[in-house]
């Protein structure tokens, strides 16, 4: 029953999406209102259909209906409830359906909320969103259906969506269950966060394409999608940080970012979106960078699609990859179509002169020029990281030798480029628009330069490597400049209105959430920067095999190994747990229990015992044991918790930046409405 329901709803959703795409395009080109409205309804129809399909999959997983091969692959009888629900995205078919569901949800939201305000763009927005949705639904229906079932035919068990002639349904007694590494709370939120971020970037892209297709190339498409882009960026950031935290907690290698190809594939759209969010400020303020902004939003979307392609096609080798499947070729074709249409439209409008800048670059030292540099730094990062993803595959094909581009390669380029970004963060907010002089800039930067100088002197006195001094200095400069901006804003308000500083600061946030929320995001990035430098450059590690009662010392901490014991968990995994005590200057600080789990599938998982302070993480792994003799691997990760805390600041800042303010919304709608009503065209949907 569930499978039939799923097959019907997914099939209908596919047809609905394709119809909406074609009808909307036809209606937009021929200004045929009825076709546009019909397409709108078809687009909205996809949501209840796909939701029903998802519920059907989850129902099968929750009730243990193992006739569905997908339920068999992703759950088993011993799985707890929330792992059954999240098993929806535990494998390729379900994750594609989940992607389609998020896509459908966002498309419907855009249609419902933006239809009036962006009336001229909406038909094309429907076309492009439904085109993308149609592709993913096509994959679900034809290539990777979560509703494939087990059939017995002539004594053989086969998997198929529809019953082969003469076959009977077969239900295994128990499922295989989710990969043990995925049975972690991180699994519940990390994929949805990332998918929300990825799919979220489709909406600004659809608006950009709508602007290119319809010729409505004024700034409205940016205003309409600013919150979508910011929201998508937030979820991408969350997804990346959560992924790092998850890797840190359960993968047992003391780190949080491995420059793995799939990790990089998620980082690339984040970089493009960050560049876009900054670059649009220039278009909104001075009508410049139109060509750049179109390119950046298209690039963000294309990198999302490319990232999905990388992960699912088997083209890049990674621990994250899905099992090799047949969807590589269809995805590749979609990449070609998406690239062709997007870049084609963009280049066409550009060469026609429709994306002409309204203002020229006045000064080489100006806010605008620094933003150009900002864009280029992000592009350079994207190119170098993308190259790192593909070079091993390409060199294997063209030279026959498989190489690995490892951490050394990435750090070589990422470090100076990110350093440049922090420098820009420290300088650009203080540079004037249009044109500035070194003298003015120097004056504006004096407080932050002095503060940074003090930090550098302190670091030299305390004693650290020259590279770290430069790195910390750059990050500190960014932080101080941001604080200076807050200070100057407060000072201006205090002088002009006589408010007390606290009220002034509040008013700043209230009146200009974009800027001051944005600066808070910068502060979050600064904190993360400190965390990354500390935990990467100054990480210490040691591995020793000891008996009960012996100790290992690393940095200021000492670990005393008390005893080890075995236990069996509910899901039959075998746990080897060590009791250890963390001491500092002879004083016991905590009791930790690093352990190693062995699942009944034979896979191991290492859970570290962590003593976390703001200063560092004392991170203990139980690597191996022989009787009572245990091999411990210990990491000391200085400042690593700043990475997570910086993430919180970043989230908080993004929420502030995106928070709507009543008067501004009303004004924007009024203004847009006034522009929007050419004679004779109906406004109401």
């Amino acid at each position: 029953m569930l499978a039939e329901l799923g097959i019907i709803t997914t099939g209908l959703a596919l047809l609905s999406a394709l119809f909406a795409m074609i009808a909307s395009a036809y209606g937009a080109v021929n200004r045929a209102e009825r076709w546009i409205l019909s397409a709108r309804n078809a687009a909205l129809l996809t949501w209840p259909l796909i939701t029903t399909a998802c519920i059907a999959v989850i129902a099968a997983q929750v009730t243990g209906d193992y006739t569905l091969s997908y339920a068999y692959e992703t759950t088993n009888n011993a799985a707890p409830f929330f792992f059954r629900v999240t098993a929806l995205w535990g494998g390729q078919p379900g994750s594609l359906l989940f992607w389609a569901w998020v896509m459908s949800t966002f498309s419907s939201a855009v249609i419902l909320f933006n239809w009036r305000a962006e009336r001229r763009l909406m038909p094309w927005v429907v076309t492009f969103t439904m085109g993308t949705l149609g592709f993913f639904m096509g994959l679900v229906v034809f290539a990777e259906s979560p509703f494939a079932r087990f059939w017995t035919l002539n004594g053989q068990t086969i998997t198929a969506v529809f019953a082969p002639a003469g076959a009977t349904l077969f239900m295994p007694g128990d499922g295989k269950g989710l990969n043990p590494l995925l049975r972690h709370p991180g699994m519940i939120i990390h994929p949805p966060m990332l998918y929300t971020g990825f799919v979220g970037m489709t909406i600004p892209w659809a608006f950009a394409m709508a602007a290119l297709a319809s010729g409505q190339l004024n700034t409205n498409w940016i205003r309409a999608t600013r919150r979508w882009a910011l929201g998508a960026w937030l979820f991408l950031s969350l997804g990346l940080i959560l992924g790092g935290r998850w890797a840190y907690d359960v993968l047992g290698w003391g780190g949080y970012w491995g420059w793995d190809p799939v990790e990089n594939s998620a980082l690339l759209p984040w970089l493009a979106t960050t560049a876009f969010l900054h670059s649009v400020m220039i278009q909104e303020k001075r009508g410049m960078f139109k060509v750049w902004n179109m390119f950046l939003v298209i690039l963000s979307f294309l990198l999302v699609i490319l990232g999905t392609f990388n992960t699912r096609s088997g083209l890049v080798e990674s621990v994250h990859s899905f099992a090799r499947s047949g969807i590589g070729v269809p995805m590749f074709l979609f990449v070609i179509v998406a690239v062709g249409i997007s870049l084609g439209l963009w280049l066409w409008r550009w060469r026609r002169g429709d994306l002409r800048t309204e203002n020229q670059l006045d000064g080489l030292l100006s806010r605008e020029s620094l933003f150009i540099l900002n864009n280029w730094v992000f592009i350079a990062l994207i190119v170098m990281i993308a190259w790192g993803i593909y070079a091993p595959t390409f060199t294997e094909i063209f030279t026959g030798n498989r190489i690995t581009l490892g951490t050394e390669y990435y750090r070589y380029y990422a470090v100076p480029l990110f350093g440049l970004l922090y420098l820009l963060m420290g300088v650009a907010p203080l540079v004037a628009w249009k044109r500035s002089s070194w003298k003015t800039l120097g004056k504006a930067m004096r407080p932050s330069l002095i503060a940074t100088g003090a930090v550098i002197v302190l670091l030299i006195v305390v004693g650290t490597t020259p590279g770290a001094v430069v790195a910390y200095g750059l990050v500190a400069l960014a932080g101080f400049s941001t604080l200076v901006e807050y200070g100057r804003g407060v000072q201006a308000r205090v002088r002009a209105h006589g408010e007390n500083p606290a009220k002034a600061l509040w008013t700043l946030f209230e009146r200009n959430r974009r800027r001051y929320g944005g600066y808070l995001i910068h502060l979050g990035v600064v904190v993360i920067g400190f965390g990354i430098i500390g935990s990467t450059v100054f990480q210490q590690t040691t591995q020793q095999t000891i008996d009960p009662g012996q100790t290992i010392t690393l940095g200021p901490y000492t670990m005393r190994y008390d005893n080890v014991f075995q236990a069996i968990a509910d899901d039959n995994r075998q746990m080897t747990i060590a009791n250890v005590t963390v001491l500092r200057d002879g004083q016991p600080l905590a009791q930790l229990r690093p352990r190693k789990d062995l699942f009944d599938t034979g896979e191991p998982m290492t859970i570290a015992g962590q003593y976390s302070t703001l200063e560092s993480d004392f991170y203990i792994l139980l690597n191996d044991w022989q009787g009572d003799r245990v091999t411990f691997k210990i990491y000391l990760n200085p400042l690593i918790n700043l990475v997570w805390w910086g993430g919180y600041v970043l989230i908080f800042g993004t929420i502030i930046a995106a928070w709507p303010s009543a008067e501004r919304e009303a004004a924007a709608v009024r203004e847009v409405g006034a522009v929007r009503a050419p004679a004779g065209e109906a406004l109401s949907a």
Binding site: L315, V339, L343, G353, E358, I397
Partner: protein, 194 residues
Amino acid sequence: MTVQSPNTFPNTRTTKRLPIAPIAIISVVALLIIGLGIALFEVNQPPLDHGAAPDIALVTFDNQPFKLSANQGKIVLLNFWASWCNTCPGEAPILNKLWNDYRAKGVVFMGIGHLDNRADALAFMARYEMQYPTAPDDGNHVSDAYRVNQVPETYLIDQHGALAFVLHGPVTADFDTELRTRLDKLLASQTNQG
């Protein structure tokens, strides 16, 4: 404040500027897509199942050279294994017996150690008493040629140098029977022709 002259349109200058940026972007994107297409094609290549067996050159653990082309006219069985492979211990005695039964009939066996340490490989061979000739695949060239990514795998090559049978997995009792059947058939055809 804009700086423009009356006839300044970006596309109608007196000197036609080469549109570097669009050309660069189109070239880079085109190259990337072509590269990805080729890579996808290569990745989707099915494992080596039929056709001519790639020629290989190895040096055994006993320092004897081995070249596939030098064994033209003979039936050759290649078995890829590794000391760290879970199912290899199970197939080792089966292969030993197969080797003992067919070596007198002129069948050539070569075990190929895939991505293994010399010490571990020798220990494995000693422990499971592998008697047929074995060679380490230094540099992974042979595995690359046969597109071997997992072990164990067994390749049966007929007297003409073509792949007669490929097994992606351990030689179980069932597959042992199948291998024997095929070996007998190939030997029969060899004596008919020879």
